[in-house]
């Protein structure tokens, strides 16, 4: 299970995306599913930088992935502020443009695009596990 460590800054996102593309290709996802996984990881890493670390260059992001017969399992670890959301709200979409909030999409995207999402905190680490199954819809 290869592990990669990136500095917690936004420039790392494109590099992490390249790894995700390698992993989804290796796993054999179609373009749309692969795009979803790329989005989920991007949103999760952005949140680590912005919310867990409270800004750029405060800590590292560890990225690793594992491919099993039926699953692509991506793990993200950080040493930022403990985080474990209780409930993911669907952003209210039935509101006119000017009242439409443009925040809160990140977690929603993560949960929509991935099949399983687990939050854990252990030994000073936040551990986020993102799982995509083969052949599952969306």
């Amino acid at each position: 299970m290869p592990t990669f460590v990136f500095p917690g800054k936004y420039e790392s996102l494109a590099k992490i995306a390249e790894l995700v593309q390698i992993a989804t290709r290796e796993f054999g996802l179609d373009s749309c599913a692969a795009y979803g996984v790329e989005t989920a990881v991007d949103e999760a890493c952005s949140n680590i930088i912005e919310h867990a670390y409270g800004g750029e260059n405060k800590g590292e992001i560890e990225f690793s992935y594992e491919i099993t017969a039926n699953s692509l399992i991506i793990t993200l670890r950080d040493q930022g502020k403990k985080f474990k959301p209780k409930k993911i709200e669907k952003p209210k979409t039935n509101v006119p443009l000017k009242h439409r909030s443009d925040h809160g999409l990140g977690l929603y995207f993560i949960h929509q695009w991935m099949d399983e999402v687990y939050y854990d905190n252990r030994e000073g680490y936040n551990i986020l596990t993102l799982i995509k199954h083969k052949g599952a819809m969306s």
Binding site: Y35, D42, L97, D102
Partner: protein, 111 residues
């Protein structure tokens, strides 16, 4: 991310290529603000070569749309939206807020 901006008589075409994520979204916001600061609020975003947009990028789009539509002074419209980008817009519930054109010619012709 690469930005290509062309000013026409009645609208501006902004071609955004590559990745719009938390690293690059601020530069897109800056470019759109610069256009709006020049009093130009009819903007075509040509997304032909956009590979990726995160929620940070979508935020820039919706922010620009809000500014452009204020006082009925204009509008942001999208052209050449690729399937993956469209599903992101869709999932965010943003498709109702943008006119989407099959090609840039129709988008420019709409203004």
């Amino acid at each position: 991310m690469e930005i290509n901006h062309t000013e026409f008589k009645r609208c501006d075409v902004v071609k955004v290529s590559g990745r719009v994520d938390s690293a690059t979204a601020p530069r897109l916001a800056e470019k759109l603000n610069e256009i709006m600061d020049a009093g130009r609020y009819r903007i075509v975003l040509d997304l032909q070569d956009l590979d990726f947009i995160s929620s940070a990028g979508l935020r820039v789009l919706i922010g620009a749309q809000k500014s452009c539509k204020r006082y009925n002074r204009g509008e942001v419209v999208l052209a050449n939206v690729q399937p993956n980008i469209l599903s992101a817009l869709d999932l965010a519930g943003f498709t109702p807020f943008f006119k989407i054109f099959d090609d840039t010619v129709s988008a420019v012709g709409n203004f």
